[in-house]
């Protein structure tokens, strides 16, 4: 117990993103993941000290350009699969959650505070005002508490404020606030972590060097 506790303390200590750990992890997902990780790292490197809006734009562009949309069934042969950033980069494909997850963890690495980011379940109307309603997920950025968020979406290359996205109806939002502790302590080996998709991804991302 003591050992695990000490380990937890080390894990909890704030640390800069670890390029080596990420590359190491990327090698397990193939060459595409390695090149993806290097590209992400160069983007992150360039973002140091820049304004948060720049960071949002750069990361949003990075994933929207690099990843081709594909359903989980096509990529993972599963109904619903939450891929970690490197898994997605390795495949080069992903669905809306995978984009959001990738952007979320990358922005955290770019020193955007967790409290400003939320992953949001939305209903999206596709194909005009009378279009079909589909379940979708986007990443919301709150510049200040209670402010109107900016929406990072894979359906639209441009970042817009929420009011400029009438096609999206938010349902529920969450982030990893209050969860890191548990994930840090048990890691991907914790059987409980596997019970929840979100926790599973948190653990995987953590092992891949994302904060």
């Amino acid at each position: 117990m003591l050992g695990a506790g000490a380990l937890a303390c080390v894990m909890l200590a704030p640390r800069a993103w670890d390029a080596d750990v990420m590359l190491q992890a990327a090698r397990r997902h193939g060459a595409q993941a390695v090149s993806g990780a290097r590209a992400l790292q160069s983007v992150l490197g360039a973002l140091q000290g820049r304004a948060e809006t720049d960071k949002l734009a750069a990361i949003n562009d990075f994933f929207n350009r690099r990843i081709v949309f594909a359903t989980d069934r096509e990529v993972w042969a599963e109904e619903d699969y939450w891929a970690s950033p490197l898994e997605m980069l390795g495949k080069g494909r992903g669905d809306c959650e995978d984009y959001v997850i990738g952007k979320y963890f990358s922005l955290l690495l770019a020193d955007v505070p967790m409290a400003k980011l939320r992953l949001v379940y939305v209903q999206a109307r596709v194909g005009g005002p009378d279009g079909e309603q589909v379940a979708h997920m986007v990443l919301a950025y709150y510049a200040a508490p209670g402010a109107e968020p900016l929406i990072l979406d894979n359906l639209l290359g441009e970042i817009r404020t929420a009011t400029h996205r009438p096609d999206l109806t938010p349902v529920f939002s969450f982030n990893s606030e209050g969860l890191w502790r548990g994930v840090g302590a048990q890691g991907a080996g914790d059987p409980v972590a596997r019970l929840s998709r979100w926790r599973d991804v948190l653990a995987k991302a953590h092992a891949e060097g994302f904060q």
Binding site: R118, Y142, F172, G182, V192
Partner: protein, 642 residues
């Protein structure tokens, strides 16, 4: 620390460690499970609550009510809503619940209910987050109960294991103790055979020890046989097997001079008349047969009671010593009648005559023999099969009636009119080994202190000998406490018959732990021959207290006591009848030497009693005795006090 105790400590230590370890592991793993469950519950409930609150369009009252409803109907310690600006908007908190588990347990296992956090929003507007913490005292109580049950169950298992261990240890312990006891008794001079145990290592050990004991026994037996043949050669008449003249006279002298001998007795001299003529008419072989049949008749008579002994003084003369007064004449008449009947079928000239004399304690041997010879001569004159008696000058010791005697004896013991005489026993360097302390009783209030010969027979008849012996022992212990010198006390064989005697002797010894190791207790050789088991029991009790135990007046029967091998004795005092006159008889000296060697072989100390002259003493030292007592020791006057 003893082997068995070490095994026990090891077993109990192992059990205790196993118990502690398994209880701790159980508690900690249960704690882990409970903590995980709590964490999951907190997280899930926080998410569910956040989902509901996010549907309430940011209506503050409704949100607070919903959260309060969840709090009131669920099992929460705290539900808190934190606004987007980080300030607490509302909060519900329960009072801490009383715990069943003790505080030390709570602080040891320290279950923390990790808060579950989820984000609440209204549309795109982030409202803040909810934080949910469930009650955890119930988990702690549950853990406490579980731990108690675990401990009980494991303690029960441990008790079963300890029981099994008890059986196992007992299985090793019994043979181990038996073997250790055998080793101990070997050191004490007892040679025992133990049953072979089932444990292989111990079995080999026990087998080896048994084999050694057996070998020693064989050696002892052959030595005993050798000594017995030496004894026969030295002290028995070659033709008849009864004592020869020298030995008989030594026996007689020892009997009348010994302090604890008999106060009165009788001597019968019996002669086969006209033996020379018989020899000529019947022939040597028939004459020898006749002599042997006379000896056998007398020996058979002697065998009937203790203290009677027979000797052949010369070709035609036999002598019988009786340990009781006033019966000699009667006995002689009976013997003569018996022989007359036996000779009835033989030619008329075979006849015997007997002379009788009453003896008393302390009488001079020459005087006694002269009187007996006179009586025999008178009988011979009186004709075949006649019996004549003579008396020895000097007053015989004749006290008052037996009843009065007994009262006097009782009173003397009761009132403590008793004292111990002290005769030194010295070793070859004249150092005192111990003081022999025979008991003297003052029977008449102003009279002299009498030696045992005067009161012991009566004491035995009145069953007072145990009390006399205990008194002697008590006096000796008191004397040792005063001067710290070793003392020996003789016990009467009759005391063995008293079932409480051994226990009381032990009590006396235990009560004086300082003096007990300086005490030497001795008992007549006849006790070893006739009451062997009782004697062994007494010996065990006495030696357990550190005192020494031995035989006195020994010699005659020693080589014929088979169990002497495992009697458990410390020393043997050789009777004056064995030691008297050894200087002048090569055969007797050889016997004593063989006897001493045999006894030394059994790790017994050997002390010669009743040594009178310096020549005998020198021969005895040469024979290897460890100590000498008797008049000679007093005369040398060179006893060194140690």
């Amino acid at each position: 620390m003893s082997l068995i105790r070490q095994i026990w400590l090891l077993l109990l230590g192992t059990l205790a460690i196993a118990l502690l370890a398994s209880v701790s592991i159980n508690v900690l793993s249960a704690r882990e499970t409970l903590q995980t469950q709590l964490r999951l519950k907190n997280a899930d409930n926080a998410t569910s609550l956040a989902l509901v609150l996010s549907q309430l369009k940011g209506q503050h009252d409704l949100m607070e009510m919903t959260a309060a409803a969840q709090f009131d109907t669920g099992f929460y310690r705290r539900i808190r809503f934190i606004g987007a600006d980080g300030k607490v908007v509302f909060e519900r908190e329960a009072r801490p619940q009383p715990m069943q588990a003790p505080a030390w347990f709570a602080s040891w296992v320290a279950i923390d209910s990790e808060p579950g956090v989820a984000q609440v929003s209204d549309g795109w507007r982030a409202l803040g987050s909810v934080e949910v913490i469930s009650q955890s005292t119930y988990a702690l109580d549950e853990l406490w109960r579980g731990s108690l049950q675990d401990t009980l169950a494991l303690a029960a298992v441990g008790a079963c294991a300890a029981l099994l261990a008890l059986v196992g240890v007992a299985r090793i312990r019994r043979p181990l103790e038996a073997t250790v006891e055998q080793a101990d008794s070997l050191r004490e001079g007892e040679y025992r055979i133990v049953p072979e145990p089932k444990v292989p290592e111990l079995r080999r050990l026990a087998r080896a020890m048994n084999a050694m004991v057996e070998r020693l026994r064989v050696v002892f037996e052959s030595q005993a046989a050798h000594v017995e043949s030496l004894r026969r050669a030295a002290s028995c008449d070659a033709l008849t097997g009864v004592s020869n003249r020298v030995h008989f006279l030594a026996q007689l002298r020892a009997a009348v001079q010994r302090e604890d001998g008999h106060s009165a007795g009788g001597l019968v001299l019996l002669r086969i008349l006209k033996l020379t003529e018989l020899n000529q008419s019947l022939g040597r072989e028939s004459t020898d047969r006749l002599i042997v049949s006379v000896a056998d008749t007398l020996a058979a008579y002697a065998g009937r009671s203790d203290g009677v002994f027979v000797g052949r003084l010369n070709g035609s003369d036999f002598a019988v010593v009786l340990p009781f007064g006033s019966v000699a004449n009667e006995t002689a008449l009976a013997m003569v009648a018996l022989l007359r009947a036996a000779f009835a079928g033989m030619p008329g000239m075979v006849a015997v005559a007997a002379g009788v004399v009453e003896t008393r304690h302390g009488i001079a041997l020459a005087e006694l023999m002269a009187a007996a010879d006179l009586a025999l001569a008178q009988a011979e004159c009186a004709g075949p099969f006649s019996v004549e008696s003579a008396s020895v000058s000097g007053a015989t010791w004749a006290g008052a009636g037996e009843h009065r005697w007994r009262e006097q004896l009782h009173a003397a013991l009761q009132e403590g009119r008793a004292r111990l005489a002290e005769y030194p026993v010295v070793d070859a360097q004249r150092r005192v080994i111990h003081l022999e302390c025979p008991l003297r009783l003052q029977l008449d209030e102003n009279g002299p202190f009498e030696v045992a010969a005067h009161w012991l027979p009566l004491a035995v008849r009145s069953h007072l000998s145990p009390r006399a012996d205990e008194r002697a022992l008590a006096l000796a212990l008191a004397a040792i406490a005063q001067d710290g010198r070793q003392r020996s006390v003789n016990l009467s064989p009759a005391s063995l018959q008293d079932s409480g005697f051994a226990a009381r002797v032990r009590q006396l010894l235990v009560a004086s732990p300082q003096a007990a190791p300086l005490i030497w207790l001795e008992i007549n050789e006849t006790a070893a021959a006739d009451q062997f088991q009782l004697m062994c029991e007494l010996s065990r009790q006495v030696r357990a207290c550190g005192a020494k135990f031995g035989l006195e007046h020994a010699g005659e029967r020693l080589s014929r006591i088979e169990q002497l091998f495992d009697a458990g004795l410390d020393y043997v005092k050789l009777d004056a009848a064995v030691t008297l006159g050894v200087a002048n008889a090569v055969g007797r000296a050889a016997f004593v030497k063989g006897l001493v060697m045999m006894l030394h072989g059994l790790s017994l100390q050997v002390i010669a009693e009743g040594v009178v002259d310096a020549q005998d003493a020198r021969t005895l030292w040469d024979a290897g005795v460890d100590g000498i007592t008797g008049p000679w020791v007093g005369t040398t006057g060179a006893a060194v006090q140690t």
